[in-house]
């Protein structure tokens, strides 16, 4: 759906911010753009909605170069969350959130419903904040309004530049979960800039890891963690990359390739089959026994799980796909 074809960006004739980047984003895919500060993430993102010109190469959207679109119309179909919110100080929160629906001339009832929905989504009281102004909100609240504003007209494509950057861990996790939830329902095509590899692993269908303007690896989170194709990738994801990869899988995933011992005793610690392997391991390490009991949604016992089995599974995964 979005094809980056040998895209380069040079500022003022000498600052090479993006160098020969090529990759494809499929419709409905959630792609995380990650890398150290100054590696060209924002520049790459801003070339998609033509806030920056493309120096070389091309970005093709549904078969047509973004250069050939009517900029105004194209941008209204792409939600854009700017890195530092950029709310309009002269407008109330409601007017800020509803700016694009207002431009598109939605009717009143539809606008009111949408505003309520969006505010509930980002966890701010619709009525309480309606008539407030941006300067009367905290940084994190402003950032959330920025996200709501970008979502307002329900655009099929979202460009999000570190939308959860200034949030505390609790709100951040909540918004991440909410966002994944919406994504499952509406399947937007999302290009999402992040600094945080945990966020990337959690949210992304694919991760594009950049350094010094170059695309180092474009892959699924599992492959980025378990099959880094470059020393920089393993360095960037950290030494605990195997541990991180464990949050990608649930006990249920493990059950597909490993059979558990069905001999369960009632005294063992219990985990649900939807638990991530990372959390299951954590439970295993914190109990005295070598085994934990796995149960399904209806709390029916499935079997017992050991550390060895988790290790076995991870080795299986590390052997698959890659290369």
């Amino acid at each position: 759906m979005i094809k980056f074809q040998n895209v380069s960006k040079t500022y003022n004739g000498n600052v090479k911010a993006v160098k020969d980047v090529s990759f494809n984003i499929e419709a409905g895919e959630f792609v995380i753009l990650i890398g150290p500060s100054g590696c060209g993430k924002t520049s790459l993102l801003r070339m998609v909605n033509q806030l920056e010109t493309i120096t070389e190469g091309d970005i093709v959207l549904n078969g047509k170069s973004v250069r050939d679109f009517n900029k105004i119309e194209m941008r209204r179909k792409m939600g854009y969350v700017i890195q530092s919110n950029g709310l309009f100080p002269n407008m109330t929160i409601e007017d800020n959130v509803m700016i694009v629906p207002n431009l598109l001339g939605w009717d009143k009832v539809k606008k009111r419903q949408r505003y309520q929905y969006l505010m509930d989504l980002i966890g701010l009281n619709p009525d309480e904040y309606k008539k407030r102004y941006p300067h009367q909100l905290s940084g994190g609240q402003q950032q959330r309004i920025g996200v709501a504003r970008a979502l307002a007209a329900d655009p099929p494509i979202m460009l999000m530049d570190e939308p959860f950057g200034a949030l505390d861990p609790i709100i951040r996790t909540r918004l991440q979960d909410e966002f994944l939830q919406i994504q499952r329902e509406v399947q937007k095509t999302i290009l999402f800039v992040s600094h945080d590899i945990d966020e990337a692993v959690k949210m992304g269908d694919k991760i594009a890891l950049m350094r010094h303007g170059e695309l180092i690896q474009y892959d699924t989170p599992a492959n980025i963690l378990l099959h880094p194709r470059h020393e920089f990738v393993s360095e960037f994801v950290g030494e605990d990359r195997v541990l991180k990869s464990m949050s990608l899988y649930t006990v249920k995933d493990l059950l597909e390739s490993i059979t558990l011992d069905t001999n369960v005793s009632s005294t063992q610690q219990t985990v649900h089959e939807q638990t991530t392997l990372r959390n299951a391991l954590s439970v295993l390490l914190s109990t005295n026994s070598q085994k934990i009991k796995v149960v399904d949604i209806e709390e029916r016992p499935i079997g017992t799980l050991t550390i060895d089995q988790i290790e076995q599974f991870l080795q299986l995964k590390a052997g698959q796909k890659g290369a």
């Binding site: 801003r46 909605n49 806030l51 900029k71 105004i72 119309e73 194209m74 941008r75 209204r76 792409m78 854009y80 700017i82 530092s84 919110n85 950029g86 709310l87 309009f88 100080p89 002269n90 407008m91 109330t92 700016i99 694009v100 431009l103 102004y133 941006p134 300067h135 009367q136 920025g146 504003r149 970008a150 460009l159």
Partner: protein
Amino acid sequence: MSKNKTIAFTVKILFWIAIIVFFIWIFKNDLLIHVYQEPSRFLNLLTQHIIIVLISGSIAILTAIPLGIILTRTKFRKWEWLLVNIVNLGQTIPSLAVLALIMGILGIGMKSAIVGLFLFSLLPILQNTIAGIHSVDEKTLDAAKGMGLTPLQILWKVELPQASYSIFAGIRTSLVINVGTAALAYLIGGGGLGVWIFTGIQLFDNAFLLSGAVPLTILALLVDYLCKGLEFLIVPKGIRLAKQSVTNNN
């Protein structure tokens, strides 16, 4: 904070006492006598004065704001420096010289006075319009562009509201100065309250001088308050509140 408040309050009290003493002195000595002895003449001069200020001021506003907007468009940015300097130069030439020059071209009368005052009023508004638009938060422009606002929508919904505070400050300064400077209209036969003021100066007659000067001052204060009122109505509430919260925190 409370110390500053006390000082500000004391200064205000002293100021009002001085004003009251001044007016007692004026009325004791019958120094505003011309105002109520020749009411029709007074009204005539006052109307002339107001007409000069109103016409020159509104033409200046209608010229300076669009000019400031045009000069801040990316296409025309390179001309901004040149034009501001030209207008600046016009400002450094003494008002009297400019008036004399205009009189040389347009002759004696109200028309010349209006043209002169229009030129004087231009710069503060132009400068403040340009400064106001330059001070608009880049991030908001970026967000607006990214969400698909047209350049005109960006100007109208993002730039001008944020610049409105500064633009209004320019209009206020400009008009208040205009009211005062309009007294010079007399020198080129433009009429206005300057007629009595200059007569007073020439004849060492305090009654003439003050019958012109006191209403002139009141007019200037009135214009100032009027502008403040308009500012309250036109500058968006969010901008006003944000400005207040910034000043309160300092």
